[in-house]
Amino acid sequence: MTRRIIFYSASLLLILAVCLVFSLCIGSVPIPPGDVIKALTGGGNARMAGIINEIRLPRALFAILVGGMLSLSGAILQALLKNPLVDPFITGISSGAAFGATCAIMAGASGLVAPSMAGAALAMFIVYRISISSKTLNVTRLLLGGVMMGSFFSSLIMLLNALFSKDLVKVVFWLMGDLSNIDAGLLPYGVAASLAAIIAAVYFANDLNIMTTGEDEAKSMGVKVEFIKALYFIIAGVLTAISVALSGVIGFVGLIVPHVVRAVTGPDMRIMVPCSFLAGALFLLASDTIARTVFLPSEIPVGVITGLIGVPVFIYFMMKGRA
């Protein structure tokens, strides 16, 4: 078991490292790998180093973090809700975050991270309260509550758009997801949150496995069911909230990546946790690199690429599974 975890994780980590270096080489100004390494280690031409260290590297790292967080969140929610068709936005938390950001855009504010987190926290709180019935967290109500709150916040966003149509384009673009202009100072927070989430999620991962066979059965085997539900809901929620606050709503990552990972590694969450994170990081890094280079000088919204690549890959794995 541990061997499998190490094998899969190490492979993904290796591929990720290679993709990272590759992605640092391409952009408006192509930079050969040698120079990239030089820039990373503190040498090289100042402007090149600036492009690598100040623009491309932070962006790539955010792609890795956000991709990993969304994917891990999706994997957790799929296990919690026992439904492989769930994506992290089903909890309504992303719509809450988007609502917070929309309010901020319309109020003319430019810092969108704090308002998004506030909106996400609000949504999470409401959904959590809805899901509690007779002091236990009811997973069906969680799902319903999440879908309802998601729709509710989306309607609020559309209302704001209708009333204050001036900023419609900005809101639409933000909602489509964007990694191009995130404050690099937020990187340490993202890394800390991701690490904390991975560690907590892996430690109790086997209990989550057991819960997918049934709540009563899990309880009868000694799993602290209420604790596990609350813990994983919070982990998934916080990861989603941070992702949306940093980069808007990037779709498909949280739905597709866990699916593909599960097809390769099996459903054991002890493997799925690190591998979903790494695979999601890889997927989003690749998608974002494509989005920012294929149509230069323009950039395509990264959510477009995750959909265009993700869906065919997903269908391929689905068909393969059938056979």
Binding site: A79, K82, N83, P84, Y203, F204, A205, N206, D207, N209, I210, T212, T213, G214, D216, E217, K219, S220, M221, G222, V223, K224, R262, G266, P267, D268, R270
Partner: protein, 273 residues
């Protein structure tokens, strides 16, 4: 010491709803108690309460002499294991993985299996006879095979008390007999089994005592001979056209029903084996 004891256990679904009351019994090592009764009598609800899966009961329940109310969940899981009537497994775990989950009370949250755990899992799989299927996906098995896997899991959990909710449902004859064999083995090794059964005759044959439940209470509790009687069966199930005769091979009372029993009664027609 009794492995399991219920004293004045009751439960109510809230104002004027269905309620369970006056449940009193104790289980001895190596015995099987079957709970029978018509639909809606409260059998499954009772089992869940006794396994501490439903909170909010009145009265006291003791496992290995300790009150289960305050017991730590892992400690309780080392005493009672529970096999539900049906379960939906969301994902494709293998048989081996499912049975390994039964060791949770001994491994803690990280689920790391020590040699003793691995041995217990292997033992359970072999004991039940599903060794060839151990790498198969649980969701791809037949109903009977799935049930056997859950039994193996309960065995791996190595508890002195095992609860089974209608384990015979969906089982073909072959697996039914395998199941009965497994229960006998459990009894022989000193474990007690509490099972809910729709089959009066099966209950009669394979249990040492029977509890007949109706309307949330025990209408009768004792040996099969004491409980499978004309009066009790008529009273509890509302049958008219039936006979009770002893199985010539085992001496246990069996119920034979004819047609024409009140179709509106809540009791299902007992399928003869």
């Amino acid at each position: 010491m009794n492995y399991f004891e219920a004293k004045n256990v009751g439960f109510s679904y809230g104002r004027g709803g269905f309620s369970i009351k006056n449940i009193n019994f104790a289980m001895e090592p190596g015995e099987t108690i079957a709970v029978i009764g018509p639909n809606g009598a409260g059998k499954s609800t009772l089992m869940k309460i006794l396994a501490r899966l439903t909170p909010g009961y009145s009265g006291e329940i003791f496992a290995e002499g300790k009150n289960i109310k305050a017991m730590d969940s892992a400690a309780l899981a080392r005493v009672i294991s529970y096999i539900p009537q049906s379960s939906e497994h969301g994902f494709d775990f293998t048989v081996e993985e499912i049975v390994s989950m039964g060791r949770r009370p001994y491994t803690g949250p990280d689920g790391k299996l020590k040699p003793v755990d691995i041995a217990a899992v292997k033992g359970a799989i072999e004991e039940i006879g599903i060794y060839e299927k151990r790498k198969a996906k649980y969701n791809e098995l037949s109903g009977g095979e799935k049930r056997m896997v859950l039994i193996a899991r309960a065995m791996a959990q190595a508890t002195p008390v095992i609860f089974m909710d209608e384990p015979m449902t969906y089982l073909d004859i072959h697996h039914q007999s395998m199941l009965m064999e497994a229960i006998v083995k459990m009894n022989n090794s000193g474990k007690s089994v509490l099972l809910i059964s729709h089959g009066i005759n099966l209950a009669s044959e394979y249990s040492s005592r029977v509890a007949v439940m109706k309307g949330g209470e025990f209408a009768a509790f004792g040996t099969a001979k004491e409980c499978v009687t004309e009066n009790i069966i008529r009273d509890v199930y509302g049958f008219e056209n039936f006979d009770i005769a002893d199985n010539p091979r085992t001496g246990k009372p069996n119920v034979f029903i004819g047609p024409g029993n009140n179709p509106e009664s809540a009791a299902p027609k007992i399928a003869e084996l």
